[in-house]
Structures are given as structure tokens and as C-alpha cells.
């Protein structure tokens, strides 16, 4: 039987080719996602391990948590005397104080903006670091700097050139050396700017303090013992970690965004595989129907139903395994493409050779094989039930019509799904929306064979006006409910996801933009061009802005992470005195000014949800001092909270007391009376010229910047969803190509009585377009419905109004219909090439 299976699969290889391709594409996506995320993690691990290679222990000030949302918590500087205490501890061979932080680099007056950070650090020789001088010498004194060789090469910096380096303050420095990191020329996506300790302290505004102390233990002392000894002697205000732990913690922070990316990528590849499963199931169903007489003959000759079943599944196994293997190989290449796409969406992924884990190969091949087997299961079971007498039947079996059971199940599921969706949306329950969505989609799959032909009938009405080819196209689409349904549903699923994402995108964008424009009244806004999560403006920027005569008020805004009952959350810090001049914060209780006393202002909806009232105290775990009780001094409306980006607002003074971060996210500027914005912009630009990442925007530009950031994320998802749509389009091509084999005689007859090749081609293309159109209708309606429910469910966090991006959806519709037309080209050509006579002669 196995021999028969293999020869069958080979004999039908042209019919199975597109199925194979669908499996391969789906698996390529899975493999590519895994390879990309593995590679990125591996590269980050290596990078941090290399950086901490020679260090045994690191001493820093203690913090309540290491990192949040992929950002490492900044710790308080170590007092100068700690360096001596550490160095004098028995068992310490050498101790090296370090001042490091985020900086900016300008070459010939132009900002150098890598995808990742610009690391401003303290030079040290081996064994403390992996820095290896490639040219020149180490930096000494207040005006010397060493850059990494890669950055220098990229920006044509030579020894002796002068560059501008800024952090808290700004300096002109002479490049005296170029360095590599280990055997590489630099760190991926980053710039290294290395100066001596005193220079770093000045640039970072640390005074005599240092950010950390690297320790190398005496060779005869166990590192673990030394760690304990140091920890006890320094006391609880300090954290002593091993080099590996420090590297691992830093890597973990950096890898957090990669784990989000992995979830998104794997979810999208699952969508691709699901769409592929429709295609596989459909192909097997069609091929087996076409072979039903042959199968019946086999049964008549003594094959058992089980043998037929295993032989069909064997064929699926063959397709699945080979397709998955091909897909895995292609996926390794696809990882490069995905990396490019993710970078285009603003994710800083490190560059480097790909990591292919055995786990990736296993998961990808298993996923492809399993999906193929599962998809072929139904058709295989139906094939096993073919009775031997069917071999004797003259006519082809009529397409199966829906059974009552299926109808009832379908409608019940649909009803439950709709009720669940509506209820969950009304009660703002996002988990409930997810359950409703699953019920709803399941209902569509079950009802597909009932709905698809009716829809085809209705949507295809204009086709009837195109004469016989159009009418026949519609008829043949309606005639095979199950086939049309499976083909259209696969595409509909992809299109539903795309319209869902589009609606979400424009609604979230609109909500953010509207509340920003309503609440922010500043004439100009200074923001960091790098979009760091917590901001990246030196406090000097706000300072200089405030001292300009054109400026009435310059109010800085900062963000910070905190732990809310163990969960990472974010807060906004403002200056209660100046904020009212640049923003319209509507308080529903208490006052903003009361923040001066050290309390917190909450978004009203959060207070309601958590049953908190004015005067209550809120436990917040803050990075420097751990859990604190902050008194609730005011409640603001939700739109104000959205404009300020978080639901928790504290004063800048409170922030300074509990956070070590010293960067502003933005500076809101109100102009002095009678000053023209353009004039102020020029003056501001001049005043902050040595802070290259500071960008001056007006309100509209700032709102647009936020919208663009949202667009980037949704754009990436949409591009990746197009992949699922591509597989679905292959499904249309495949189904049509197979149905043409089936309709050879009908096509021959039409040609004999005078249908021209052109008419025949347009008939087949019309079928493809009709299936695509049915999918468009279902997809857009489902996408809109799910988006509306999801937005309803999400609005406990932010009240969202459904915004339908009409132009964009119309573009999706047009693209899908055109793609449907394209999907029909190949089958149409094949049909037109059929010889009239072979068509008639087939008896």
C-alpha cells in the first residue's frame, strides 16, 4: 500500500504542487520567525557577555528592580569613597570605577543616530573589557575620545578629527584612538564613545560619583566568597553581582522586545498555517473526489476502508514532510527578510550570523507535517467511506450538500459568538471578546458551505450582465459550495485580519491624536528624535529653552517605570506649576497643584476600577527606594491621562526623589506674548544645537509623530499578514486549476459550440474574482465586527471610538480583487490551452 501511496503522490504531483508550496510557505514563516528571534537573542547574549568578559564582580547601588519593558533601571551614582572601600576589601585584586550612560555623538555638525544606543563609557584596558585598540592610543584628559572602528568607518572619522559628544553636558573631543570589541569592529546597532573617567563624569553630570565598579578577584579567592564578603561589608544600599549575572540581566532587558516580536511573528505564522490548512484540505478533497472511482475500484478489489484511509494520510505525510523540509530551508533565508521588515518598523535588531537551533528545525518540520495531516484527515475519512459500488456508477458524484446537523451547529455557534462579542464589548471585557471571536470564526467555518454560495450568487449578480462566461462563472462557483467556501474562507480569514488591524490602527491613532490635540496647548514641543521609551533629552535642553526671552514657559515631562503589585507599569512626571500653561488637564477631583506635596494623580477610570478615592494611598514600588505609599491627591479625566501617556502622574520633585534617571521625554514650550512660532523655533534651534537628538515640533507634528509610531507597528503586522493572504490566493489558483481538470468536457463542449478562447479565459478569471469578492465581503465584515468588539473591550484602558479607514479598506478590497484576478490567470491559460477534441473525446 505504501508503494501505491508514493506512486499516487508522484502521479498527482502537479495537482499537489501548490499544496506543497502552501505548506512550504507556512513553514518558512514559522522557521524564519524562530531563526530571527533566536539569532537576535544569541547576538545580544554574546554582545553583553563579551562586554563583561574579564570582570568577576560588579558593584552598583541597589535598585528595587533591574529592568522594566526592556529598559534597564538607572541606579544612583556610587559615592566616591565606595571605590576605596571596594579596592581595600581583602580578596579584591583590582577594582575599576566606571562612569557610563547614554550619550550622543555629532560628526561634522551632524548627529549620528544608530538604531540602538550611543554608549558613553569609560575606557579600560583588558582584562576589564573586551575593547581592543585598533589605532591610536587610549583617551587621557578632558578632550580625548576613542570611537569604535565601525562607527568611525561608517562616518569617515579619522584620528585627529574633532567630534561633539553630549550627555548631560556637551563637549568637543579629539579622536585619539579607534577600538574594536573582541574581534569585531564594534557593537551591533550601537556607537561606542569612550573617554577617561573624569571626562565621563563631567559629561554625565555625575560629579565625583561613578555608575559602577568592576572588580577582579585575587586568583586564589573564590568569586562567590568575595561576593558575599563585599555585600556584607558594603551593606544593603549596594548590589554586588557576578559579571555573568550582570551581562545576563542586561541581555534579558534587551531581549524583552524580541520576545514580544516572537509572539507577534509566531501568531502571524500560525495564521499563515491555518490558511494553508484550508488549502490543503481543499486540495485533498478535490483530488479524492476526482479519484473516487479509482478508489472505489480499489475497494472492490479488496482494499479495506482503513487501507484507503492510511494511503491518503500517507500521501499527506509525504507532502507535509517534504513541504515542511523545503519550507524550513527557505525559512532560514526568510529570517533575513523578516529582520529587514522588523527593522523597517523601528525595531533595533542586532546584525550577525544566523543561529539555527535544532529546536527550530524540529518545530518547523513538525508544525508543517502536523498541519498537513490534520487538514487531510477529513478528506481521508470521506475517501475511506467510498463504497465499492461507486466504481460502477456512470455519473460523477454530485457535490455534497450541507447536512442539517451542520446547519444547526453553525447557526448556534454564530448566535453564541455574536452574543458573546456584543456582551464582552459592552462590559469592556477583552478576554470575553477573544472567546467570542473564536466562536464566531468557528461558526463561519461551519456555515461556510451554506453562506458562500449564497454570497457568490448575490455578489456575482453583476457578472450575469457580462454574458454567458460571467453567468457560467457564477454558476460553477455556486455549484460547489464546499469548495467555494473553503477557498473563499481562507482568503476571508487573511482579509479579516488585515481589516481588523487597519481599523484598530486608525481608531487607536485617532484616539491618541485627538486627546493629544485637545489636551496639549503648547506652542512648541521638544522631543528626542530617537524615541527612547523613557525619553532622551538632557535637562539642559529645558533649562536653555526656559532662559530664552521668546519662551514664556518650558515645562519638562518625564516617564518612569514602577511595579504595580508586581506588574510593570508606567507613570508620568510633570511640573505642576508650569504644566497648566502648556496642557489642559481636566481634573475630576482634587488638584494638580497638590502634587507638590509628593502625591499622585490618577486617571478617573483607573480609580473607579480599583475602587480608589481621593485621599487614599496607593502602594507603588519605585526603582530606587522600593515600595512607597503615595497619597492620591487628584483624579483627571481619561482624555487628559491619554495625552500625558499614562494613568499615573507625579511631580518632577517626587520623581527626582525616587528615580535616578535624569532625562526628559519632552519639553513643552509656551511662547511669550507676541512671539511668532517660526521666530521662536529658530531661536530655540540655535540654543540647543549641541543636543542633536532634540527635535522641535509644533503640536500637529508631535501628534503626527505619535501616529507614525503606531502606524509602524501595525504596518509591520499588515505586511506579515499579506503573507497569509498570499497563501490564500495560491488556494484560489489551486482550486481553479483542479476544477478545470474536472470540467474538461464542459469546457470542450463550450469551445465546440463557439466559445472563444478569450471568453473562456475571462470565464475562469471571473470565477477567481468572484471567489475573491466573496472573501472580501466576508473578510471586511468580519474584520470590522471583530475590531468594533475589540475596541469596545479595550476601552476600559482608553475610550476608543471605532474609526473605519475607508480609503485604506477600499485599497485592500481593490488589491484583493485584483489579486484574485491574478490568481485566475494561470488556470485561465491552462483552460484555454485545452484541446477542444480531447475535451469532447473524454468519455
Amino acid at each position: 500500500m505504501w508503494r501505491l501511496t508514493v506512486s499516487n503522490a508522484l502521479a498527482h504531483r502537479s495537482r499537489l504542487a501548490l499544496t506543497w508550496l502552501a505548506v512550504a510557505l507556512g513553514v518558512a514563516f514559522v522557521a524564519g520567525s524562530l531563526v530571527l528571534t533566536d539569532t537576535s537573542s544569541q547576538l545580544l547574549d554574546n554582545q553583553f557577555r563579551t562586554a563583561a568578559a574579564g570582570v568577576d564582580l560588579t558593584v552598583r547601588t541597589a535598585a528595587a528592580f533591574n529592568s522594566a519593558m526592556g529598559v534597564e533601571v538607572q541606579r544612583a551614582p556610587l559615592p566616591a569613597d565606595v571605590v576605596g572601600r571596594v579596592a581595600d576589601t581583602p580578596g579584591v585584586d583590582r577594582a575599576r570605577p566606571i562612569a557610563s550612560g547614554a550619550g550622543q555623538l555629532q560628526v561634522r555638525g551632524r548627529a549620528v543616530l544608530p538604531a540602538g544606543p550611543t554608549i558613553l563609557g569609560t575606557w579600560a584596558d583588558a582584562p576589564f573589557t573586551a575593547y581592543r585598540l585598533r589605532a591610536g592610543h587610549a583617551p587621557h584628559g578632558p578632550d580625548q575620545v576613542v570611537l569604535d572602528a565601525a562607527t568611525a568607518r561608517e562616518h569617515a572619522v579619522r584620528l585627529g578629527d574633532t567630534v561633539t559628544v553630549s550627555a548631560t553636558t556637551s563637549k568637543q573631543l579629539r579622536v585619539v584612538g579607534l577600538t574594536g570589541v573582541g574581534d569585531r569592529d564594534g557593537l551591533p546597532n550601537s556607537n561606542l564613545v569612550l573617554v577617561d573617567l573624569a571626562c565621563a563624569q563631567t559629561l554625565l553630570g555625575l560629579g565625583p560619583g561613578v555608575t559602577s565598579i568592576d572588580v577582579i578577584a585575587d586568583p586564589d579567592v573564590a568569586v562567590a566568597d568575595l561576593r558575599t564578603r563585599l555585600a556584607t561589608s558594603l551593606g544593603s544600599g549596594y548590589a554586588v553581582t557576578t559579571g555573568q549575572d550582570t551581562a545576563a540581566a542586561s541581555a534579558a532587558a534587551a531581549k524583552q522586545s524580541i520576545s514580544y516580536l516572537r509572539i507577534v511573528l509566531l501568531a502571524l505564522s500560525a495564521a499563515g498555517l491555518l490558511v494553508g490548512a484550508f488549502l490543503i484540505a481543499n486540495t485533498f478533497a478535490i483530488v479524492l473526489t476526482q479519484r473516487s472511482r479509482e478508489l472505489a475500484l480499489l475497494r472492490a478489489a479488496g482494499a479495506t476502508g482503513r487501507q484507503v484511509f492510511t494511503s491518503v494520510l500517507g500521501e499527506a505525510l509525504l507532502v507535509g514532510v517534504t513541504g515542511a523540509a523545503g519550507g524550513t530551508a527557505a525559512g532560514i533565508g526568510a529570517a533575513y527578510g523578516l529582520r529587514g521588515l522588523a527593522r523597517g518598523a523601528g525595531l533595533a535588531l542586532p546584525d550577525g550570523p544566523l543561529t539555527v537551533n535544532p529546536r527550530t528545525l524540529l518545530v518547523a518540520v513538525a508544525a508543517g507535517t502536523l498541519v498537513t495531516l490534520l487538514a487531510a484527515f477529513g478528506p481521508a475519512r470521506r475517501a475511506a467511506r467510498i463504497a465499492p459500488v461507486e466504481a460502477m456508477r456512470l455519473s460523477d458524484p454530485a457535490p455534497a450538500t450541507a447536512r442539517r446537523g451542520r446547519l444547526i451547529t453553525g447557526w448556534v455557534l454564530l448566535g453564541l459568538g455574536v452574543i458573546q462579542l456584543a456582551a464582552a464589548a459592552a462590559f469592556r471585557d477583552i478576554a470575553g471578546v477573544a472567546i467570542g471571536a473564536v466562536l464566531f470564526l468557528a461558526a463561519l467555518v461551519v456555515l461556510g458551505p451554506v453562506l458562500a454560495p449564497r454570497l457568490a450568487q448575490a455578489v456575482g449578480r453583476p457578472l450575469a450582465r457580462l454574458g454567458v462566461p460571467g453567468r457560467l462563472a457564477r454558476e460553477s462557483t455556486v455549484r460547489n459550495p464546499r469548495r467555494t467556501a473553503a477557498t473563499a474562507m481562507a482568503l476571508a480569514l487573511g482579509l479579516a485580519l488585515i481589516s481588523f488591524v487597519s481599523v484598530l490602527d486608525s481608531s487607536v491613532k485617532a484616539a491618541v491624536g485627538t486627546s493629544y490635540r485637545e489636551a496639549i496647548t503648547a506652542d512648541l514641543i521638544i522631543e528626542s528624535a530617537r524615541n527612547e521609551m523613557l525619553g532622551g533629552l538632557s535637562p539642559e535642553v529645558a533649562h536653555r529653552a526656559a532662559s530664552l526671552p521668546e519662551v514664556a514657559v518650558a515645562s519638562p515631562i518625564r516617564y518612569g517605570h514602577w511595579l504595580d503589585r508586581g506588574m510593570t507599569s508606567a507613570l508620568t512626571a510633570v511640573d505642576p506649576a508650569t504644566l497648566p500653561h502648556v496642557a489642559r488637564v481636566r481634573m475630576t477631583a482634587g488638584s494638580l497643584a497638590a502634587l507638590d506635596g509628593g502625591g499622585v494623580v490618577l486617571a478617573a477610570n483607573v480609580a473607579t476600577e480599583r475602587h480608589l478615592h481621593l485621599g487614599d494611598s496607593l502602594p507603588m514600588t519605585l526603582p530606587r527606594d522600593g515600595q512607597q505609599q503615595l497619597r492620591i491627591v487628584g483624579l483627571m479625566d481619561d482624555a487628559s491621562a491619554r495625552a500625558l501617556s499614562t494613568s499615573y502622574v507625579i511631580s518632577l520633585a517626587t520623581y527626582a526623589a525616587h528615580y535616578n534617571e535624569n532625562v526628559d521625554a519632552s519639553v513643552m514650550v509656551a511662547l511669550a506674548h507676541g512671539v511668532k512660532p517660526q521666530q521662536a523655533r529658530t531661536a530655540l534651534g540655535k540654543a540647543i544645537a549641541d543636543f542633536p537628538n532634540a527635535q522641535i515640533r509644533n503640536q500637529a507634528e508631535a501628534a503626527a509623530g505619535r501616529a507614525a509610531a503606531i502606524d509602524q507597528v501595525f504596518g509591520l503586522i499588515t505586511v506579515l499578514l499579506c503573507f497569509a493572504v498570499l497563501i490564500a490566493l495560491l488556494g484560489i489558483t489551486n482550486t481553479l486549476a483542479l476544477s478545470i481538470v474536472e470540467r474538461t468536457r464542459e469546457i470542450g463542449l463550450l469551445r465546440a459550440v463557439g466559445m472563444t478562447r478569450r471568453q473562456l479565459r475571462s470565464m475562469i478569471r471571473a470565477e477567481a474574482v468572484l471567489v475573491a469578492a466573496v472573501a472580501v465581503v466576508v473578510g471586511v465584515v468580519v474584520g470590522l465586527g471583530l475590531a468594533a468588539a475589540t475596541l469596545g473591550g479595550l476601552s476600559s484602558d482608553m475610550p476608543l471610538v471605532v474609526r473605519v479607514p475607508v480609503a485604506r479598506l477600499l485599497a485592500v478590497v481593490a488589491a484583493a480583487v485584483l489579486a484574485g484576478l491574478a490568481a485566475g490567470l494561470l488556470p485561465a491559460r491552462r483552460a484555454a490551452r485545452l484541446d477542444v477534441l480531447t475535451a469532447i473525446a473524454t468519455h
Partner: protein
């Protein structure tokens, strides 16, 4: 305007000899090398207009191939084929399709109808493909003669074999073609339904002057024709005017082929 459209729009003058179609020295070989089969080997035949011509011959003698060549359904290796004045060998594939649609009608042995179209739609098919509508009077007359009045809205699957073949005949005649080809139209019918169909074809020639070419292996069916041509080994070997079943049988026997081998 293509030459064909020109020919279609300007009817041939009455004075031209009443010849509906002609095959001259047609050669047709299928396959190549050892597997080559010479289906037509210098076949020449003239189909007079307004007559019912039957084509007979042993199985594999090239009957279907000859009819396909005459109808422009297949290309030939050499020789020439005319339908009216149109030289099929000189026409493009598209022009041959248009010629079939405008000037020829077909009835095949089986699978004559498009399953998704009703009887009425199947009848009108050649016209609707050309973007035209049937002449209502002619349609009514045809339907009446074929006895399909109550069946027009039915799909082929709801019709008996005989009704299906009558619908096929209706489709062949609806465009008032110069020529109707029928390849064993009664092959799948019982004798009663077969006889009805054959009478109808004969009446179409008698009362409407319809030219018909019918392939058959049944001497009784052939006897409905005005003339029978006999084919053997890809060549016309004999011809019989005003045939009776007995005369046809005698001629067939003379073709040196055992009677039981005569067939499709």
C-alpha cells in the same frame, strides 16, 4: 472587419452551386513514429446543401475525424476543407471558433449540455455566446417541434436522455446554421427515442432545408438520410443515394468487414 465577418455578413449569391461543405484529399495522422495512426488518408467528400447525409464505416475508419475536420474542430495535415466559401485551413483558431458559432451546429453522442444551464439556456447558448438573443418565433417553433414546451426551465440532470438529445438538437439549430453535424446522436438512446430524434432530423431537412451530416453505425439510422457515404481506412469508398436499411447492410457487408465489428 475580418474576411470571415465579411463572408458572414454578405450571404453567398444564390447562383453559387448548392454545396454546404467540401473536403478535398484530407490527410490526418495522430501520433508519430511507431504509434502513428493515419485516421484520414486522402478523404474527399462533398456535402450538398439542403440534404441529410449519413457517414458510415467500420469502427476506427475515421468517421469522427472526418466530421471534426469538416467542422473545424481539428486541424488537418494536408488537403483542404471548405464550409461554404470559407477555407477552414486558412482560418485562424479564433475565426474557426466564430465560424462554428455562426454557421455550424453540433450534436454529440453524450455530454451535450452544460449542467448548470437550463434547457432554454442550453438551446440559446451559441447565440448568447455571440452576444445575441434567439429569434422568439423561431425558438417557439423549434421548442414546439422538439416537444420541449414544458421542459425549458429544467436543468439537464432533470431531463431524460432523449429529452437531453432533443435539447442538443435545438441548440444545434437555433442559430439557423448552414450545416449541422451529429456524431452518433442516437448512440445512447433506446430505439423509440432514437427513432423520434431521427425523424425530427429528417423533417428539418425536408421542411426547413437544413443541411445535416450524421455519423452513425446503425443501418436503420442511416436509412433516414438522403444519402449515405461509406468510409474505410480513412477514405470515402462508396456512396448510396436514397438508402434503405437493407441496401445499407449490403453495402456494409461489401466493405469486407464482419458486421459485428462495425461500431463507434
Amino acid at each position: 472587419m475580418t474576411t470571415l465577418e465579411h463572408a458572414l455578413l454578405s450571404p453567398a449569391p444564390e447562383a453559387t452551386p448548392q454545396i454546404a461543405a467540401r473536403a478535398i484529399d484530407v490527410m490526418k495522422t495522430y501520433g508519430s513514429g511507431d504509434a502513428a495512426v493515419r485516421a484520414l488518408d486522402g478523404a474527399s467528400v462533398t456535402i450538398p446543401a439542403g440534404q441529410f447525409t449519413a457517414v458510415m464505416g467500420p469502427s476506427g475508419s475515421g468517421k469522427s475525424t472526418l466530421v471534426h475536420a469538416l467542422a473545424g474542430l481539428d486541424t488537418i495535415d494536408s488537403g483542404r476543407v471548405f464550409v461554404g466559401d470559407a477555407d477552414l485551413t486558412a482560418l485562424s483558431e479564433r475565426d474557426r471558433t466564430l465560424l462554428r458559432r455562426e454557421r455550424l451546429g453540433f450534436v454529440f453522442q453524450a455530454f451535450n449540455l452544460i449542467p448548470s444551464l437550463t434547457a432554454a439556456e442550453n438551446i440559446a447558448l451559441p447565440l448568447t455566446l455571440a452576444g445575441r438573443r434567439p429569434d422568439p418565433a423561431w425558438l417557439a417553433e423549434l421548442v414546439d417541434m422538439l416537444g420541449l414546451q414544458n421542459r425549458l426551465g429544467h436543468r439537464p440532470s432533470e431531463l431524460s436522455g432523449g429529452q437531453q438529445q432533443r435539447v442538443a438538437v435545438g441548440r444545434a439549430l437555433i442559430a439557423r446554421p448552414d450545416l449541422v453535424f451529429a456524431d452518433e446522436p442516437t448512440g445512447n438512446l433506446d430505439s423509440r427515442h432514437g427513432a423520434a430524434l431521427l425523424s425530427f432530423l429528417r423533417d428539418a431537412t425536408r421542411t426547413l432545408g437544413q443541411t445535416i451530416v450524421m455519423v452513425t453505425h446503425d443501418p436503420v439510422a442511416a436509412s433516414y438520410a438522403d444519402r449515405v457515404v461509406f468510409l474505410a481506412d480513412g477514405r470515402i469508398v462508396d456512396e448510396l443515394p436514397a438508402p434503405t436499411p437493407e441496401a445499407v447492410l449490403t453495402r456494409m457487408a461489401r466493405l469486407d468487414v464482419p458486421a459485428q465489428m462495425v461500431g463507434a
